[in-house]
Protein backbone atom coordinates (compact mmCIF):
# COMPACT_ATOMS: atom_id res chain seq x y z
CA UNK A 1 0.00 0.00 0.00
CA UNK A 2 1.50 3.27 -1.07
CA UNK A 3 1.21 6.70 0.47
CA UNK A 4 -0.50 7.97 -2.68
CA UNK A 5 -3.23 5.32 -2.49
CA UNK A 6 -3.74 6.04 1.19
CA UNK A 7 -4.12 9.77 0.57
CA UNK A 8 -6.52 9.09 -2.26
CA UNK A 9 -8.72 7.00 0.04
CA UNK A 10 -8.65 9.68 2.73
CA UNK A 11 -9.79 12.21 0.14
CA UNK A 12 -12.54 9.83 -1.01
CA UNK A 13 -13.67 9.57 2.60
CA UNK A 14 -13.67 13.35 2.88
CA UNK A 15 -15.71 13.60 -0.30
CA UNK A 16 -18.31 11.13 1.06
CA UNK A 17 -18.32 13.09 4.32
CA UNK A 18 -18.99 16.38 2.55
CA UNK A 19 -21.90 14.80 0.65
CA UNK A 20 -23.34 13.44 3.89
CA UNK A 21 -23.03 16.86 5.45
CA UNK A 22 -25.16 18.44 2.72
CA UNK A 23 -27.90 15.90 3.55
CA UNK A 24 -27.47 15.93 7.31
CA UNK A 25 -27.39 19.75 7.52
CA UNK A 26 -30.83 20.02 5.91
CA UNK A 27 -32.26 17.23 8.05
CA UNK A 28 -30.92 18.60 11.29
CA UNK A 29 -32.01 22.16 10.42
CA UNK A 30 -35.54 20.98 9.64
CA UNK A 31 -35.65 18.97 12.84
CA UNK A 32 -34.16 21.77 14.91
CA UNK A 33 -36.51 24.49 13.66
CA UNK A 34 -39.73 22.62 12.95
CA UNK A 35 -39.33 19.47 15.06
CA UNK A 36 -39.98 17.32 12.00
CA UNK A 37 -38.38 14.02 11.03
CA UNK A 38 -38.34 13.90 7.25
CA UNK A 39 -37.84 10.54 5.52
CA UNK A 40 -38.56 12.19 2.17
CA UNK A 41 -35.27 14.07 2.33
CA UNK A 42 -33.70 11.27 0.28
CA UNK A 43 -36.36 11.85 -2.39
CA UNK A 44 -35.29 15.48 -2.70
CA UNK A 45 -31.71 14.22 -3.16
CA UNK A 46 -33.04 12.01 -5.96
CA UNK A 47 -34.94 14.91 -7.55
CA UNK A 48 -31.67 16.86 -7.65
CA UNK A 49 -29.85 13.99 -9.35
CA UNK A 50 -32.54 13.37 -11.96
CA UNK A 51 -33.13 17.00 -12.85
CA UNK A 52 -29.41 17.64 -13.19
CA UNK A 53 -28.93 14.57 -15.40
CA UNK A 54 -31.97 15.33 -17.56
CA UNK A 55 -31.16 19.02 -18.04
CA UNK A 56 -27.45 18.30 -18.63
CA UNK A 57 -28.31 15.81 -21.37
CA UNK A 58 -30.90 18.14 -22.89
CA UNK A 59 -28.76 21.29 -22.86
CA UNK A 60 -25.30 19.75 -23.03
CA UNK A 61 -24.20 21.79 -20.03
CA UNK A 62 -23.51 20.31 -16.62
CA UNK A 63 -23.63 23.75 -15.01
CA UNK A 64 -27.10 24.45 -16.36
CA UNK A 65 -28.17 21.07 -15.00
CA UNK A 66 -26.70 21.90 -11.59
CA UNK A 67 -28.53 25.23 -11.48
CA UNK A 68 -31.76 23.58 -12.59
CA UNK A 69 -31.41 20.90 -9.92
CA UNK A 70 -31.06 23.54 -7.21
CA UNK A 71 -34.16 25.37 -8.40
CA UNK A 72 -36.16 22.18 -8.91
CA UNK A 73 -35.34 20.62 -5.54
CA UNK A 74 -36.01 23.88 -3.68
CA UNK A 75 -39.30 24.22 -5.54
CA UNK A 76 -40.23 20.59 -4.86
CA UNK A 77 -39.38 21.14 -1.21
CA UNK A 78 -41.49 24.29 -0.96
CA UNK A 79 -44.39 22.60 -2.74
CA UNK A 80 -44.30 19.53 -0.49
CA UNK A 81 -44.02 21.74 2.58
CA UNK A 82 -47.09 23.76 1.63
CA UNK A 83 -49.16 20.75 0.53
CA UNK A 84 -48.29 18.18 3.20
CA UNK A 85 -45.46 18.87 5.64
CA UNK A 86 -47.11 21.97 7.08
CA UNK A 87 -49.91 19.79 8.48
CA UNK A 88 -47.43 17.59 10.32
CA UNK A 89 -45.67 20.05 12.63
CA UNK A 90 -48.24 19.60 15.39
CA UNK A 91 -48.42 15.84 14.94
CA UNK A 92 -46.37 13.23 16.78
CA UNK A 93 -43.29 11.63 15.24
CA UNK A 94 -45.22 8.53 14.19
CA UNK A 95 -47.50 10.54 11.91
CA UNK A 96 -44.48 12.38 10.52
CA UNK A 97 -42.67 9.12 9.78
CA UNK A 98 -45.72 7.63 8.07
CA UNK A 99 -46.62 10.67 6.02
CA UNK A 100 -43.06 11.21 4.84
CA UNK A 101 -42.73 7.47 4.11
CA UNK A 102 -45.85 7.84 1.96
CA UNK A 103 -44.13 10.74 0.20
CA UNK A 104 -41.08 8.52 -0.44
CA UNK A 105 -43.32 5.93 -2.14
CA UNK A 106 -45.02 8.61 -4.23
CA UNK A 107 -41.78 10.36 -5.24
CA UNK A 108 -40.10 7.08 -6.20
CA UNK A 109 -43.01 5.84 -8.28
CA UNK A 110 -43.54 9.21 -9.96
CA UNK A 111 -39.84 9.38 -10.85
CA UNK A 112 -39.96 5.82 -12.19
CA UNK A 113 -43.03 6.79 -14.23
CA UNK A 114 -41.31 9.83 -15.77
CA UNK A 115 -37.76 8.54 -16.27
CA UNK A 116 -38.23 4.76 -16.38
CA UNK A 117 -36.45 2.11 -14.33
CA UNK A 118 -33.05 2.15 -15.98
CA UNK A 119 -30.46 4.48 -14.48
CA UNK A 120 -29.33 7.73 -16.12
CA UNK A 121 -25.67 8.63 -16.45
CA UNK A 122 -24.28 12.08 -15.93
CA UNK A 123 -20.81 13.13 -17.02
CA UNK A 124 -18.80 15.58 -14.96
CA UNK A 125 -18.15 18.91 -16.73
CA UNK A 126 -15.27 18.88 -19.23
CA UNK A 127 -13.08 21.27 -17.27
CA UNK A 128 -13.19 18.92 -14.24
CA UNK A 129 -13.04 15.59 -16.03
CA UNK A 130 -9.29 14.91 -15.75
CA UNK A 131 -7.05 14.32 -12.76
CA UNK A 132 -5.20 17.06 -10.89
CA UNK A 133 -1.73 16.67 -9.46
CA UNK A 134 -1.63 17.23 -5.73
CA UNK A 135 1.58 18.06 -3.85
CA UNK A 136 3.58 14.86 -3.43
CA UNK A 137 2.85 13.70 -6.95
CA UNK A 138 -0.63 12.31 -6.21
CA UNK A 139 -3.08 12.30 -9.10
CA UNK A 140 -6.66 12.78 -7.91
CA UNK A 141 -9.86 13.24 -9.97
CA UNK A 142 -10.49 16.97 -10.30
CA UNK A 143 -14.25 16.48 -10.02
CA UNK A 144 -14.06 14.76 -6.63
CA UNK A 145 -11.74 17.48 -5.39
CA UNK A 146 -14.24 20.06 -6.64
CA UNK A 147 -17.02 18.32 -4.68
CA UNK A 148 -14.95 18.55 -1.50
CA UNK A 149 -14.28 22.26 -2.10
CA UNK A 150 -17.90 22.98 -3.02
CA UNK A 151 -19.16 21.12 0.06
CA UNK A 152 -16.82 22.99 2.37
CA UNK A 153 -17.82 26.31 0.77
CA UNK A 154 -21.49 25.47 1.30
CA UNK A 155 -20.76 24.51 4.90
CA UNK A 156 -19.05 27.86 5.42
CA UNK A 157 -21.86 29.71 3.67
CA UNK A 158 -24.45 27.94 5.79
CA UNK A 159 -22.55 28.91 8.92
CA UNK A 160 -22.50 32.56 7.80
CA UNK A 161 -26.19 32.43 6.86
CA UNK A 162 -27.20 31.12 10.26
CA UNK A 163 -24.84 33.16 12.40
CA UNK A 164 -24.54 36.44 10.50
CA UNK A 165 -27.77 37.23 8.65
CA UNK A 166 -31.26 38.35 9.55
CA UNK A 167 -32.75 35.11 8.22
CA UNK A 168 -30.26 33.21 10.38
CA UNK A 169 -31.36 35.10 13.48
CA UNK A 170 -34.95 34.14 12.72
CA UNK A 171 -34.01 30.50 12.16
CA UNK A 172 -32.14 30.38 15.45
CA UNK A 173 -35.01 32.12 17.20
CA UNK A 174 -37.39 29.60 15.68
CA UNK A 175 -35.29 26.80 17.16
CA UNK A 176 -35.37 28.38 20.58
CA UNK A 177 -39.03 29.39 20.89
CA UNK A 178 -41.51 29.27 18.06
CA UNK A 179 -44.44 30.94 19.86
CA UNK A 180 -42.27 33.84 20.89
CA UNK A 181 -41.03 34.72 17.44
CA UNK A 182 -44.48 34.56 15.90
CA UNK A 183 -45.65 36.83 18.71
CA UNK A 184 -42.90 39.25 17.64
CA UNK A 185 -44.57 39.59 14.27
CA UNK A 186 -42.50 37.22 12.17
CA UNK A 187 -44.42 35.18 9.65
CA UNK A 188 -43.53 31.75 10.93
CA UNK A 189 -45.28 29.85 8.15
CA UNK A 190 -43.14 31.52 5.50
CA UNK A 191 -40.03 31.00 7.62
CA UNK A 192 -40.80 27.27 7.83
CA UNK A 193 -41.30 27.05 4.07
CA UNK A 194 -37.98 28.83 3.50
CA UNK A 195 -36.10 26.52 5.90
CA UNK A 196 -37.63 23.45 4.28
CA UNK A 197 -36.80 24.69 0.78
CA UNK A 198 -33.26 25.48 1.91
CA UNK A 199 -32.82 21.95 3.24
CA UNK A 200 -34.31 20.57 0.03
CA UNK A 201 -31.91 22.63 -2.08
CA UNK A 202 -28.93 21.31 -0.08
CA UNK A 203 -30.16 17.73 -0.63
CA UNK A 204 -30.78 18.38 -4.33
CA UNK A 205 -27.32 19.92 -4.67
CA UNK A 206 -25.77 16.81 -3.12
CA UNK A 207 -27.82 14.56 -5.42
CA UNK A 208 -26.72 16.47 -8.51
CA UNK A 209 -23.03 16.40 -7.53
CA UNK A 210 -23.10 12.68 -6.69
CA UNK A 211 -24.99 11.94 -9.90
CA UNK A 212 -21.80 12.44 -11.91
CA UNK A 213 -19.91 9.87 -9.79
CA UNK A 214 -22.58 7.21 -9.41
CA UNK A 215 -25.56 6.40 -11.59
CA UNK A 216 -28.76 8.40 -11.20
CA UNK A 217 -31.53 5.96 -10.29
CA UNK A 218 -34.74 5.64 -8.33
CA UNK A 219 -34.01 5.05 -4.67
CA UNK A 220 -30.52 6.58 -4.87
CA UNK A 221 -31.32 8.90 -1.96
CA UNK A 222 -32.35 6.29 0.57
CA UNK A 223 -28.95 4.83 1.54
CA UNK A 224 -27.65 8.41 1.83
CA UNK A 225 -30.64 9.37 3.98
CA UNK A 226 -29.94 6.57 6.43
CA UNK A 227 -26.23 7.43 6.55
CA UNK A 228 -27.23 11.03 7.24
CA UNK A 229 -29.34 9.75 10.17
CA UNK A 230 -26.26 7.99 11.51
CA UNK A 231 -24.37 11.27 11.15
CA UNK A 232 -27.06 13.13 13.07
CA UNK A 233 -27.15 10.56 15.86
CA UNK A 234 -23.36 10.78 16.20
CA UNK A 235 -23.17 14.55 15.84
CA UNK A 236 -26.12 15.44 18.04
CA UNK A 237 -29.46 16.51 16.64
CA UNK A 238 -30.02 20.14 15.70
CA UNK A 239 -26.33 20.97 15.60
CA UNK A 240 -24.83 22.06 12.26
CA UNK A 241 -21.30 21.97 13.64
CA UNK A 242 -21.87 18.47 15.02
CA UNK A 243 -23.27 17.41 11.64
CA UNK A 244 -20.13 18.64 9.86
CA UNK A 245 -17.70 16.89 12.19
CA UNK A 246 -19.72 13.68 12.32
CA UNK A 247 -20.10 13.65 8.52
CA UNK A 248 -16.37 13.74 8.02
CA UNK A 249 -15.84 11.06 10.69
CA UNK A 250 -18.46 8.79 9.13
CA UNK A 251 -17.21 9.37 5.59
CA UNK A 252 -13.57 8.67 6.44
CA UNK A 253 -14.30 5.67 8.73
CA UNK A 254 -16.58 4.06 6.14
CA UNK A 255 -14.17 4.55 3.24
CA UNK A 256 -11.04 3.58 5.15
CA UNK A 257 -12.77 0.51 6.63
CA UNK A 258 -13.67 -0.77 3.17
CA UNK A 259 -10.14 -0.02 2.00
CA UNK A 260 -8.09 -1.33 4.91
CA UNK A 261 -10.04 -4.21 6.49
CA UNK A 262 -9.67 -6.78 3.68
CA UNK A 263 -5.91 -6.11 3.73
CA UNK A 264 -5.68 -6.36 7.50
CA UNK A 265 -7.62 -9.63 7.56
CA UNK A 266 -5.58 -11.20 4.77
CA UNK A 267 -2.85 -11.78 7.35
CA UNK A 268 -5.21 -14.10 9.21
CA UNK A 269 -7.06 -15.98 6.45
CA UNK A 270 -6.88 -16.69 2.73
CA UNK A 271 -7.40 -13.82 0.31
CA UNK A 272 -10.93 -14.67 -0.88
CA UNK A 273 -12.50 -15.06 2.55
CA UNK A 274 -10.53 -12.05 3.82
CA UNK A 275 -12.16 -10.00 1.08
CA UNK A 276 -15.64 -11.27 1.91
CA UNK A 277 -15.31 -10.98 5.68
CA UNK A 278 -13.53 -7.63 5.41
CA UNK A 279 -16.29 -6.21 3.22
CA UNK A 280 -18.98 -7.52 5.56
CA UNK A 281 -17.34 -6.05 8.66
CA UNK A 282 -16.51 -2.79 6.89
CA UNK A 283 -20.16 -2.33 5.96
CA UNK A 284 -21.05 -2.48 9.67
CA UNK A 285 -18.26 -0.25 10.94
CA UNK A 286 -20.06 3.10 11.10
CA UNK A 287 -23.04 1.52 12.85
CA UNK A 288 -20.70 0.08 15.46
CA UNK A 289 -19.27 3.59 15.79
CA UNK A 290 -22.81 4.90 16.27
CA UNK A 291 -23.46 2.28 18.95
CA UNK A 292 -20.28 3.28 20.78
CA UNK A 293 -21.23 6.96 20.69
CA UNK A 294 -24.67 6.06 22.03
CA UNK A 295 -23.16 4.17 24.95
CA UNK A 296 -20.82 7.03 25.87
CA UNK A 297 -22.94 10.04 24.88
CA UNK A 298 -26.59 9.13 24.19
CA UNK A 299 -27.36 12.66 22.94
CA UNK A 300 -24.52 12.74 20.41
CA UNK A 301 -21.10 14.36 20.48
CA UNK A 302 -22.33 17.96 20.14
CA UNK A 303 -25.90 18.19 21.44
CA UNK A 304 -27.50 21.48 20.39
CA UNK A 305 -29.71 22.06 23.41
CA UNK A 306 -28.21 21.30 26.80
Amino acid sequence: MTFALFTEQILNGLQLGVMLFLMAAGLTLIFGVMGLINLAHGSLFMVGGFVCAAVAVWSGSFWLGLAASLVASAAAGALVEIAVIRRLYDRDHLDQVLATFALVLMFSEATRFVFGSSPLYLNPPAMLSGPVMLPGGIAYPAYRLAIIVAGLLVAGGLGLLINRTRLGVRIRAGEADREMISALGIDIRTLYTIVFALGAALAGFAGALVGAIQSVEVGMGEPVLILAFVVIVIGGIGSIRGALIASVIVGVVDTMGRFLLPDLLSGMMDAASARGTGAAIASMLIYVLMALVLIVKPRGLFPAHG
Partner: protein, 329 residues
Protein backbone atom coordinates in the same frame (compact mmCIF):
# COMPACT_ATOMS: atom_id res chain seq x y z
CA UNK B 1 -73.26 2.34 13.27
CA UNK B 2 -70.67 2.60 16.00
CA UNK B 3 -72.96 0.49 18.21
CA UNK B 4 -73.20 -2.30 15.69
CA UNK B 5 -69.61 -2.16 14.45
CA UNK B 6 -67.81 -2.29 17.75
CA UNK B 7 -64.21 -3.37 17.80
CA UNK B 8 -64.84 -6.92 19.00
CA UNK B 9 -67.39 -7.64 16.28
CA UNK B 10 -65.11 -6.19 13.65
CA UNK B 11 -62.23 -8.33 14.87
CA UNK B 12 -64.36 -11.44 14.65
CA UNK B 13 -65.51 -10.48 11.15
CA UNK B 14 -61.92 -9.91 9.99
CA UNK B 15 -60.77 -13.24 11.45
CA UNK B 16 -63.65 -15.12 9.79
CA UNK B 17 -63.18 -13.36 6.44
CA UNK B 18 -59.49 -14.23 6.38
CA UNK B 19 -60.39 -17.86 7.05
CA UNK B 20 -63.28 -17.92 4.56
CA UNK B 21 -61.32 -16.67 1.53
CA UNK B 22 -58.96 -19.66 1.15
CA UNK B 23 -61.66 -22.19 2.04
CA UNK B 24 -63.82 -20.70 -0.70
CA UNK B 25 -60.87 -20.57 -3.09
CA UNK B 26 -60.01 -24.23 -2.53
CA UNK B 27 -63.65 -25.16 -2.99
CA UNK B 28 -63.61 -23.32 -6.32
CA UNK B 29 -60.31 -24.99 -7.14
CA UNK B 30 -58.23 -21.81 -7.30
CA UNK B 31 -55.40 -21.99 -4.81
CA UNK B 32 -53.94 -18.64 -5.92
CA UNK B 33 -56.20 -16.89 -3.45
CA UNK B 34 -55.11 -19.32 -0.75
CA UNK B 35 -51.53 -18.17 -1.24
CA UNK B 36 -52.70 -14.56 -1.17
CA UNK B 37 -54.52 -15.15 2.13
CA UNK B 38 -51.42 -16.92 3.53
CA UNK B 39 -49.36 -13.87 2.63
CA UNK B 40 -51.89 -11.64 4.38
CA UNK B 41 -51.84 -13.84 7.50
CA UNK B 42 -48.03 -13.83 7.67
CA UNK B 43 -47.70 -10.08 7.09
CA UNK B 44 -50.41 -9.59 9.71
CA UNK B 45 -48.28 -11.58 12.15
CA UNK B 46 -45.30 -9.28 11.43
CA UNK B 47 -47.58 -6.33 12.13
CA UNK B 48 -48.89 -7.90 15.34
CA UNK B 49 -45.27 -8.10 16.46
CA UNK B 50 -44.57 -4.45 15.72
CA UNK B 51 -47.87 -3.48 17.33
CA UNK B 52 -46.60 -4.75 20.71
CA UNK B 53 -43.81 -2.15 20.62
CA UNK B 54 -45.58 0.54 18.63
CA UNK B 55 -49.23 0.39 19.65
CA UNK B 56 -48.96 -0.74 23.25
CA UNK B 57 -45.52 0.61 24.08
CA UNK B 58 -45.44 3.76 21.96
CA UNK B 59 -41.99 2.75 20.64
CA UNK B 60 -41.74 3.90 17.03
CA UNK B 61 -39.40 1.28 15.63
CA UNK B 62 -38.49 1.82 11.99
CA UNK B 63 -36.22 -1.21 12.08
CA UNK B 64 -38.50 -4.21 12.39
CA UNK B 65 -37.38 -5.52 9.01
CA UNK B 66 -34.25 -6.61 10.89
CA UNK B 67 -36.24 -9.12 12.95
CA UNK B 68 -38.40 -10.15 10.00
CA UNK B 69 -35.27 -10.80 7.95
CA UNK B 70 -33.38 -12.55 10.74
CA UNK B 71 -36.32 -14.91 11.21
CA UNK B 72 -36.33 -15.54 7.49
CA UNK B 73 -32.59 -16.07 7.26
CA UNK B 74 -32.66 -18.46 10.24
CA UNK B 75 -34.96 -20.69 8.20
CA UNK B 76 -33.10 -20.09 4.95
CA UNK B 77 -29.68 -20.88 6.38
CA UNK B 78 -30.76 -24.06 8.16
CA UNK B 79 -32.68 -25.19 5.08
CA UNK B 80 -29.65 -24.58 2.87
CA UNK B 81 -27.58 -26.84 5.12
CA UNK B 82 -30.31 -29.44 5.22
CA UNK B 83 -30.73 -29.62 1.47
CA UNK B 84 -26.95 -29.95 1.04
CA UNK B 85 -26.84 -32.71 3.73
CA UNK B 86 -24.34 -30.61 5.69
CA UNK B 87 -24.37 -30.29 9.46
CA UNK B 88 -24.90 -26.75 10.76
CA UNK B 89 -21.69 -26.93 12.71
CA UNK B 90 -19.09 -29.56 13.49
CA UNK B 91 -17.21 -27.93 16.34
CA UNK B 92 -17.36 -28.06 19.37
CA UNK B 93 -20.26 -30.41 18.80
CA UNK B 94 -22.02 -31.61 15.69
CA UNK B 95 -25.45 -30.14 15.09
CA UNK B 96 -27.42 -31.53 12.19
CA UNK B 97 -29.70 -29.28 10.14
CA UNK B 98 -33.42 -29.94 10.13
CA UNK B 99 -36.45 -29.24 7.98
CA UNK B 100 -39.01 -29.41 10.80
CA UNK B 101 -40.86 -26.11 11.22
CA UNK B 102 -41.28 -26.22 15.03
CA UNK B 103 -37.50 -26.37 15.46
CA UNK B 104 -36.93 -23.76 12.77
CA UNK B 105 -39.47 -21.44 14.37
CA UNK B 106 -37.78 -21.81 17.73
CA UNK B 107 -34.43 -20.89 16.21
CA UNK B 108 -35.99 -17.94 14.35
CA UNK B 109 -37.67 -16.68 17.53
CA UNK B 110 -34.49 -17.00 19.57
CA UNK B 111 -32.30 -15.35 16.93
CA UNK B 112 -34.64 -12.41 16.37
CA UNK B 113 -35.20 -12.09 20.12
CA UNK B 114 -31.45 -11.90 20.69
CA UNK B 115 -31.11 -9.25 17.97
CA UNK B 116 -33.99 -7.30 19.51
CA UNK B 117 -32.33 -7.52 22.90
CA UNK B 118 -29.10 -6.02 21.57
CA UNK B 119 -30.71 -3.37 19.35
CA UNK B 120 -33.26 -2.53 22.04
CA UNK B 121 -30.67 -2.24 24.82
CA UNK B 122 -28.81 0.36 22.76
CA UNK B 123 -31.64 2.28 21.16
CA UNK B 124 -33.88 2.43 24.26
CA UNK B 125 -31.21 4.56 25.91
CA UNK B 126 -32.69 7.32 23.77
CA UNK B 127 -36.22 8.28 22.85
CA UNK B 128 -38.30 10.19 20.33
CA UNK B 129 -36.77 10.94 17.00
CA UNK B 130 -33.41 9.43 18.01
CA UNK B 131 -35.07 6.08 18.61
CA UNK B 132 -36.60 6.13 15.12
CA UNK B 133 -33.29 6.93 13.45
CA UNK B 134 -31.30 4.41 15.49
CA UNK B 135 -33.63 1.46 14.94
CA UNK B 136 -33.59 2.34 11.23
CA UNK B 137 -29.79 2.52 11.23
CA UNK B 138 -29.27 -0.83 12.99
CA UNK B 139 -31.67 -2.55 10.60
CA UNK B 140 -29.70 -1.06 7.73
CA UNK B 141 -26.51 -2.41 9.28
CA UNK B 142 -27.92 -5.95 9.22
CA UNK B 143 -29.16 -5.36 5.66
CA UNK B 144 -25.68 -4.38 4.47
CA UNK B 145 -24.18 -7.30 6.35
CA UNK B 146 -26.52 -9.70 4.53
CA UNK B 147 -25.72 -8.07 1.19
CA UNK B 148 -21.96 -8.23 1.61
CA UNK B 149 -21.62 -11.57 3.46
CA UNK B 150 -20.95 -14.04 0.64
CA UNK B 151 -21.47 -17.32 2.56
CA UNK B 152 -25.28 -17.32 2.34
CA UNK B 153 -26.14 -15.92 -1.06
CA UNK B 154 -25.23 -12.27 -0.45
CA UNK B 155 -27.24 -9.99 -2.66
CA UNK B 156 -28.88 -12.90 -4.53
CA UNK B 157 -30.53 -14.45 -1.50
CA UNK B 158 -31.09 -18.11 -0.71
CA UNK B 159 -33.56 -20.54 -2.22
CA UNK B 160 -35.37 -23.17 -0.18
CA UNK B 161 -36.04 -25.89 -2.73
CA UNK B 162 -38.68 -27.79 -0.77
CA UNK B 163 -40.90 -26.10 1.81
CA UNK B 164 -40.04 -27.26 5.32
CA UNK B 165 -42.39 -29.73 6.96
CA UNK B 166 -44.68 -29.75 9.97
CA UNK B 167 -45.56 -33.01 11.77
CA UNK B 168 -48.95 -34.32 10.64
CA UNK B 169 -49.44 -31.78 7.83
CA UNK B 170 -48.55 -31.70 4.17
CA UNK B 171 -47.18 -28.17 3.99
CA UNK B 172 -46.78 -28.43 0.23
CA UNK B 173 -50.57 -28.20 -0.06
CA UNK B 174 -51.49 -24.49 -0.04
CA UNK B 175 -54.51 -24.98 2.25
CA UNK B 176 -52.51 -26.92 4.85
CA UNK B 177 -49.85 -24.24 4.93
CA UNK B 178 -52.47 -21.50 5.15
CA UNK B 179 -54.23 -23.18 8.07
CA UNK B 180 -50.89 -23.56 9.83
CA UNK B 181 -50.07 -19.85 9.40
CA UNK B 182 -53.59 -18.87 10.38
CA UNK B 183 -53.39 -21.00 13.52
CA UNK B 184 -50.04 -19.43 14.45
CA UNK B 185 -51.53 -15.96 13.93
CA UNK B 186 -54.54 -16.76 16.12
CA UNK B 187 -52.42 -18.31 18.89
CA UNK B 188 -50.13 -15.27 18.91
CA UNK B 189 -53.12 -12.90 18.95
CA UNK B 190 -54.53 -14.80 21.93
CA UNK B 191 -51.17 -14.56 23.71
CA UNK B 192 -50.91 -10.83 22.98
CA UNK B 193 -54.40 -10.33 24.33
CA UNK B 194 -53.51 -12.29 27.44
CA UNK B 195 -50.34 -10.27 27.96
CA UNK B 196 -52.06 -6.93 27.47
CA UNK B 197 -54.69 -7.95 30.02
CA UNK B 198 -52.04 -9.05 32.50
CA UNK B 199 -49.77 -7.08 34.85
CA UNK B 200 -47.12 -6.60 32.17
CA UNK B 201 -49.64 -5.10 29.75
CA UNK B 202 -50.75 -2.63 32.39
CA UNK B 203 -47.15 -1.66 33.11
CA UNK B 204 -46.40 -1.18 29.44
CA UNK B 205 -49.48 0.99 29.00
CA UNK B 206 -48.43 3.02 32.03
CA UNK B 207 -44.90 3.47 30.67
CA UNK B 208 -46.30 4.73 27.40
CA UNK B 209 -48.54 7.26 29.12
CA UNK B 210 -46.26 8.46 31.88
CA UNK B 211 -42.79 6.98 32.29
CA UNK B 212 -41.85 9.37 35.08
CA UNK B 213 -44.69 8.13 37.26
CA UNK B 214 -43.80 4.50 36.57
CA UNK B 215 -40.23 5.23 37.60
CA UNK B 216 -41.52 6.93 40.75
CA UNK B 217 -43.37 3.69 41.60
CA UNK B 218 -40.03 1.92 41.66
CA UNK B 219 -40.41 0.16 38.32
CA UNK B 220 -37.86 0.52 35.54
CA UNK B 221 -39.40 1.95 32.35
CA UNK B 222 -36.26 0.87 30.47
CA UNK B 223 -36.70 -2.77 31.42
CA UNK B 224 -40.41 -2.84 30.67
CA UNK B 225 -39.79 -1.29 27.27
CA UNK B 226 -36.93 -3.66 26.57
CA UNK B 227 -39.06 -6.72 27.36
CA UNK B 228 -41.81 -5.38 25.09
CA UNK B 229 -39.28 -4.68 22.34
CA UNK B 230 -37.85 -8.21 22.57
CA UNK B 231 -41.32 -9.81 22.52
CA UNK B 232 -42.16 -7.61 19.57
CA UNK B 233 -39.02 -8.65 17.71
CA UNK B 234 -39.68 -12.34 18.41
CA UNK B 235 -43.17 -12.27 16.94
CA UNK B 236 -41.97 -10.40 13.84
CA UNK B 237 -39.11 -12.91 13.56
CA UNK B 238 -41.57 -15.79 13.63
CA UNK B 239 -43.48 -14.08 10.82
CA UNK B 240 -40.22 -13.84 8.88
CA UNK B 241 -39.69 -17.59 9.31
CA UNK B 242 -43.14 -18.32 7.88
CA UNK B 243 -42.58 -15.81 5.06
CA UNK B 244 -39.36 -17.58 4.07
CA UNK B 245 -41.24 -20.86 3.76
CA UNK B 246 -44.12 -19.22 1.90
CA UNK B 247 -41.84 -17.83 -0.81
CA UNK B 248 -39.27 -20.64 -0.44
CA UNK B 249 -36.76 -17.82 -0.79
CA UNK B 250 -35.02 -15.32 1.46
CA UNK B 251 -33.12 -12.27 0.29
CA UNK B 252 -31.78 -9.03 1.75
CA UNK B 253 -34.98 -7.31 0.59
CA UNK B 254 -36.67 -8.83 3.68
CA UNK B 255 -34.24 -6.70 5.69
CA UNK B 256 -34.56 -3.49 3.70
CA UNK B 257 -35.96 -0.33 5.24
CA UNK B 258 -38.92 -0.45 2.85
CA UNK B 259 -39.97 -3.63 4.64
CA UNK B 260 -39.79 -1.81 7.98
CA UNK B 261 -41.97 0.93 6.55
CA UNK B 262 -44.44 -1.58 5.15
CA UNK B 263 -44.78 -3.44 8.46
CA UNK B 264 -45.54 -0.09 10.05
CA UNK B 265 -48.09 0.58 7.32
CA UNK B 266 -49.97 -2.63 8.21
CA UNK B 267 -50.27 -1.46 11.78
CA UNK B 268 -51.39 2.04 10.87
CA UNK B 269 -53.81 1.20 8.04
CA UNK B 270 -55.70 -1.06 10.43
CA UNK B 271 -55.37 1.08 13.54
CA UNK B 272 -52.42 1.21 15.96
CA UNK B 273 -52.87 -0.29 19.39
CA UNK B 274 -55.87 -2.40 18.35
CA UNK B 275 -55.50 -6.15 18.67
CA UNK B 276 -56.76 -6.84 15.15
CA UNK B 277 -55.47 -3.60 13.63
CA UNK B 278 -52.46 -5.20 11.92
CA UNK B 279 -54.62 -8.06 10.62
CA UNK B 280 -57.01 -5.62 9.00
CA UNK B 281 -54.10 -3.53 7.74
CA UNK B 282 -52.24 -6.48 6.20
CA UNK B 283 -55.45 -7.68 4.50
CA UNK B 284 -56.03 -4.22 3.03
CA UNK B 285 -52.40 -4.06 1.92
CA UNK B 286 -52.44 -7.45 0.19
CA UNK B 287 -55.81 -6.71 -1.42
CA UNK B 288 -54.60 -3.29 -2.54
CA UNK B 289 -51.40 -4.77 -3.96
CA UNK B 290 -53.37 -7.45 -5.79
CA UNK B 291 -56.00 -5.12 -7.25
CA UNK B 292 -53.87 -2.07 -8.08
CA UNK B 293 -50.76 -4.12 -8.87
CA UNK B 294 -52.80 -5.77 -11.62
CA UNK B 295 -53.87 -2.40 -13.02
CA UNK B 296 -50.71 -0.35 -12.81
CA UNK B 297 -46.97 -0.93 -12.45
CA UNK B 298 -46.92 2.13 -10.28
CA UNK B 299 -49.37 0.88 -7.65
CA UNK B 300 -47.11 1.96 -4.78
CA UNK B 301 -47.85 5.55 -5.77
CA UNK B 302 -51.47 4.93 -4.90
CA UNK B 303 -50.46 3.10 -1.74
CA UNK B 304 -48.53 6.21 -0.76
CA UNK B 305 -51.53 8.40 -1.50
CA UNK B 306 -53.79 6.13 0.57
CA UNK B 307 -51.33 6.15 3.46
CA UNK B 308 -51.01 9.93 3.29
CA UNK B 309 -54.79 10.22 3.36
CA UNK B 310 -55.07 7.90 6.38
CA UNK B 311 -52.39 9.78 8.29
CA UNK B 312 -53.76 13.24 7.52
CA UNK B 313 -57.47 12.56 7.78
CA UNK B 314 -58.28 9.20 9.43
CA UNK B 315 -55.90 8.77 12.30
CA UNK B 316 -57.50 5.73 13.90
CA UNK B 317 -57.04 3.59 10.79
CA UNK B 318 -59.76 1.41 9.34
CA UNK B 319 -60.98 -0.01 12.64
CA UNK B 320 -60.96 3.49 14.08
CA UNK B 321 -63.05 4.79 11.19
CA UNK B 322 -65.65 2.07 11.58
CA UNK B 323 -65.71 1.46 15.31
CA UNK B 324 -64.99 4.91 16.70
CA UNK B 325 -62.27 5.85 19.13
CA UNK B 326 -60.47 3.17 21.09
CA UNK B 327 -61.92 2.61 24.52
CA UNK B 328 -59.31 3.21 27.14
CA UNK B 329 -60.59 1.17 30.00
Amino acid sequence: MAEFLNERRMSLAIALALLAVPLMAEWLGNSFYTTLATRAAILALAGVGLNIALGSGGLISLGHAAFFGIGGYAVGIIASHHQAYEPLMTWPLTIAATNQMPVLWLVAILASGLAALMIGALSLRTSGVYFIMITLAFAQMIYYFAVSWPAYGGQDGLSIYVRDGFPGLNTLRPLDFFLLCYAVLMVVLALVRMISGARFGAMLEAVRQNPARVAALGLSPFRIRLVAFVLSGMVTGLAGALYADLNRFVSPSMLSWHMSGEIMVFVILGGAGRLFGPVAGACIYVLFEHVFGGVSDYWQFFLGALLLGVVLFARGGLIGLAAGRARHD
